[in-house]
Amino acid sequence: METKKKLKVSAIKNGTVIDRIPSGELFHVIEILGLSRGGFQMTFGTNLESKVLGTKAIIKITDKFFEEDDVNRIALVAPDAVFNIIKDYMVVEKRRVVIPPEICGLVRCLNPRCITNHEPVKTRFSTSMGPGGIVLTCHYCEKETTQQNLQIISGN
């Protein structure tokens, strides 16, 4: 039964299957990982049944493998996501997303008076856990941006 389940997920020969993406975050994940550019062969599904999330999205990318830094870049929008590394139709490794201590160039600072919203400065935040989820503290203006107010910078 276990083997059958793995075969179903690993329907690509070589590449990566990103599982357990919250349905509403599918296109953010595609954007953050730059999958809409670069000519990748990719299939995705959304609003699939999930025991963990209720519904989930899934992305399968042929012949694409991600560095650890890339994996962790989606921590803000898909903290439960799993990267399944597929080699010859088999899952050879599962990588879980870890919240990185610092997030650069990915999220806009919520503070309209922050220098990063006025000059071409790459945003930089340190991360911590607050009562409502991940809290980002801006390296420049020192103000906090909470998970509920995240604004992903397009073109990443």
Binding site: C138, E142, E144
Partner: protein, 299 residues
């Protein structure tokens, strides 16, 4: 090479070292040890006290001062970016003192400049040299920084000096009392900061009755533009104002501080009271900034 952008850039020992240097300079204000240095004071928004005290401090240390006091006569008025301006200025100076209207501008400048940067106020974010001169004033008047009961009054939401002083004094076992209207209350992130360090604090909506157990009364200006309703501004302003008649039953060591400019939150009849310390506090700014220049220049 070390810059001073946020008060968190200095640890407790570094803060105390700067205060010791300031004490030395107060005893001997003319020490031309930097007569081979050029210090650029670039002020992208107006300032009287801060700019003059930086320039006075640089002059007393023998450094030559270049810079500008407003945007009008600079290339920024022609649309030059902050990055280009800082790159250019850091070619001319050994240290940059900078004030800017945007939060985080000073940190950004410190990453571009090839010399140390001192933040002389970046928007509503930080004003660390004001904090160090406030600390110098507290230590000078109280003999210690430890175990102070500090009452902060006025605009506790946007007041950058309040936030920086709160963070700096957290090293010295303080107790805080915050007096403000709900619209200008101390932000949640600073309450969380105090909670995480087990520092006790209370919150109040009127100054009446909050003075008797206080060592340091830290007054701040309430800006009218923070209020949409001018009537509400008048009401709040009156609740946050200090008059000489309120200074009864106070501790003998009570001192009143204010980062200035003061508008009407401290009545002029307080000025001659022994507790009033805000003008001496401004004078301490020169010695403290001499100490900061010396410490950063020697890094």
């Amino acid at each position: 090479m070390k810059s001073l952008i946020s008060i968190n850039d200095f640890n407790k020992e570094e803060m105390l070292h700067v205060l010791d240097l300031a004490e030395k300079y107060e005893a001997e204000p003319n020490c031309p040890i930097f007569n081979d240095k050029v210090i650029a004071c670039i002020f992208f928004e107006p300032s009287t006290r801060t700019r003059l005290s930086f320039e006075a401090a640089a002059s007393r240390l023998g450094a030559r001062v270049i810079g500008f006091a407003s945007l009008a006569a600079t290339s920024i008025a022609k649309g030059e970016s902050l990055k280009d301006t800082i790159k250019m200025v850091s070619n001319y100076a050994d240290m940059i003192v900078m004030r800017h209207h945007l939060d985080g501008a000073a940190r950004y400048a410190s990453e571009i400049a090839g010399c140390p940067v001192i933040n002389a106020g970046d928007g509503a974010n930080q004003h660390p040299t004001q904090t160090l001169l406030d600390m110098y004033s507290i230590r000078k008047t109280q003999g210690t920084l430890e175990n102070m009961s500090i009452t902060m009054v006025g605009d506790l939401k946007y007041g950058r000096t309040v936030h920086s002083l709160l963070q700096a004094m957290s090293h010295f076992n303080p107790r805080f009392h915050f007096v403000s209207c709900p619209e200008l209350a101390i932000p949640a992130e600073y309450r969380h900061f105090l909670d995480s360090r087990n520092i006790p604090y209370t919150e109040h909506h009127t100054l009446e009755g909050q003075i008797s157990n206080t060592d340091i009364l830290y007054m701040t200006r309430i800006q009218q533009e923070r209020f949409q309703d001018p009537m509400e501004y008048e009401r709040v302003k009156n609740l946050m104002s200090l008059d000489a008649s309120m200074l009864t039953d106070t501790k003998p060591n009570l001192r009143i501080l204010h980062p200035l400019p003061r508008i009407k939150e401290i009545a002029t009849n307080v000025d001659d009271r022994p507790e009033a310390y805000y003008f001496e506090q401004a004078r301490n700014g020169v010695f403290t900034r001499m100490g900061i220049f010396t410490y950063l220049m020697n890094q």
